[in-house]
């Protein structure tokens, strides 16, 4: 008999409809206003995933989305947790709809799907675990931003290259602890 580790059964939403609704609104605000930092709650995923990454996975992924676990996130505890709470098929980076991991673990990011010219929505969303999220760093401009905003980024070159592919490209959600920020492909990142 196969038994899942007891802690894999814990850490999901206790009231999924309400918790995922509130979390989605935060994620929507974060993606619609790139650079704004929001807080989410309700998930307790296993190490090394942050609360925010766990919430993003619970809200956005399910058995119809292919998920790539990158680097340290690809561990038995996370795999069991994803299997029980989400049921998303795990896949290679090239096929993924969603990917989660640190920026280093996700490299090279050019292997992720960027959509097709006629279906730019068929692209990957990267959930990037970072140490901290602060409004200090390269300037961001574009849709969702009134004049300019600033956000700490792991690097700028990859996001500038991604913007150059518009309307193709991947979209990024940054997570740190219970904090979350969005960087859709439409955002222009200042060169530093």
């Amino acid at each position: 008999m196969i038994t899942a580790p007891a802690d894999a059964l814990e850490g999901g939403f206790s009231e999924a409809p309400l918790q995922s609704a509130r979390a989605f609104r935060e994620i929507l605000e974060a993606m619609a206003r790139p650079g704004t930092i929001r807080r989410v709650q309700g998930a307790r995923p296993p190490e090394p995933l942050s609360v925010a990454a766990g919430v993003a996975l619970l809200v956005l992924t399910d058995p119809t989305t292919r998920l790539h676990l990158a680097g340290a996130a690809d561990c038995p505890a996370v795999r069991d947790w994803v299997a029980f709470h989400i049921g998303a098929p795990l896949t290679a980076a090239e096929d993924a709809d969603f990917a989660v991991g640190t920026w280093d673990a996700l490299q090279p990011v050019t292997r992720f799907r960027i959509g097709q010219p006629d279906y730019p929505d068929r692209s990957a969303t990267l959930i990037v675990e970072v140490d901290r999220l602060v409004n200090h760093g390269p300037a961001l401009t574009g849709p969702g931003i009134e004049t300019a905003t600033w956000l700490i980024l792991p690097e700028t070159a990859a996001f500038r290259a991604n913007r150059a592919l518009f309307p193709l490209g991947f979209d990024t959600i940054f997570t740190a602890g219970d904090r979350i920020a969005g960087l859709p492909r439409s955002t222009r990142v200042e060169a530093i």
Partner: protein
Amino acid sequence: MTDQAYNFAYLDEQTKRMIRRAILKGIAVPGYQVPFASREMPMPYGWGTGGVQVTAACLVPEDWLKVIDQGADDTTNAVSIRRFFQRTAGVAVTEATAEATIIQTRHRIPETPLTEGQILVYQVPIPEPLRFLEPRETETRKMHELEEYGLMHVKLYEDIARHGQIATSYAYPVKVEGRYVMDPSPIPKFDNPKLSDNPAIQLFGAGREQRIYALPPWTEAVSLDFDDHPFETSKAPHNCDLCGAKDSYLDEVITDDQGGRMFVCSDTDFCGGRRAAGHAGRLGGDQKSSKTFANSFEGIWPGAEVAR
């Protein structure tokens, strides 16, 4: 009171996740129509099933929901959708634009400027701006892919050739962030300037056509035009007969069979707010509730029932 027989906001969680993913992709590619697996809703197609699904995917219990149909809070479509969410999500509802956190709309943008933190959800009948020019989905998709929008300019040019001006007065196409041409749903072109650089999030849902698209806040949406025929808004050249507003979009109301007519704000909350603040138009001297006003067309005046 929430109807416990339904999940929060009616839709099941799997459906909401699918819609939420589509909304986020729509936000990431402003103006691009994201296909989604639209569900059967307990109302017919054409009655806002797309907008209802988008609203359901965005609602939180703390929301204040406003629903308008051509600007009015008290018309059939608005009342039934508002009741639907009161019953299935238990959210608070309001008619005040400034108080609402989510506004679902059919064919109008409220007169009161929207603010950050608000979401405007449009009900869209035909999301494809090129559909009446090119019926084949395979072709319109290719045209968006190649940014080939010459056909739309030909259509506007033919308007000018035939009528001397651009005769398109609603569902006036806009170009979003210099890339996708988008149908703003059948809002009057009077509302087009409000699409651009709006602080609120604007989401568009087309249920029958299974498309979701979006304008993030502060996104540029330029109404298509020509250098020698620039885009112009239009409205009836009158003031509101109830509140006297000079700059709001007006409905023409036939009041009798003798050629009598009046013009009233299409945005009932805006008009009511102005009248409550003491503004009055040609016929708006005495304060009438919207119900009394509606009854007046039936010949039912307050006390008339008693008199009969």
